[in-house]
Amino acid sequence: MEALLEQYPYYLSTVLLAIGLWGMFAKRNLMKKLIGMTIFQVAIILLFISTSAKAGGTFPALISHDITDPTLYVNPLPHVLMLTAIVVMVATSGVALAILLLIYRRYHTLDETELLERMRE
């Protein structure tokens, strides 16, 4: 039970992860799958950043030039890696939207089963 109180951000991020994953393969509309993928990526970013917290720490920018005690600042390395992850999220969303636009112009539907039928003809 104390595991629940000590590590509650990880459990909440895992719940978001499960919601995003369910949206990706249980919905039939392609746009809803894309939204599920975005929720999944945001949950991963949240999980990673919540491992960098420190009790009593502040934002990792030096308060003054000579206060360099590592226990006063939050761990900066996951913040750096997640900036890259956010830009990758934007890039995949942009390319996925372009592909969805082309599919709609060609087949006039975004539903998965109707799309498979129209592709077979």
Binding site: A3, L17, A26, S50, K54, A55, L62, V90, A98, L102
Partner: protein, 93 residues
């Protein structure tokens, strides 16, 4: 069919819950992720680069090669969207 999906997702989430019980406590200053290479970055960032912001100095100086790869990723995504959807004519819109 939908119940199969919900059961699989619940199994996946339960497996992750079981694995996360071993992670360090939230807000622990002695977690293994915070004692390996980060104290060296925090202590040496001002005398190496005169930059108070540790996130910027790690992103652009200590790990600058990763940032170069990542701007290549975003530029490739823009190029893909241009090639898929067509360009613009010279005279108007």
């Amino acid at each position: 069919m939908k119940w199969l999906g919900i059961i699989l997702i619940a199994l996946f989430a339960a497996f992750l819950f079981y694995a996360e019980a071993d992670m360090p406590a939230y807000g622990d200053p002695g977690a293994p992720g915070s004692v390996h290479v980060t104290p060296e970055y925090i202590e040496r960032t001002y005398e190496d680069t005169h930059t108070p912001n540790i996130v910027t100095s790690v992103l652009a100086d200590y790990r600058g090669y990763d940032t170069l790869g990542e701007t290549t990723v975003i530029f490739t995504a823009g190029l893909i969207c241009y090639l898929l959807l067509g360009g613009w004519k010279r005279n108007d819109s």
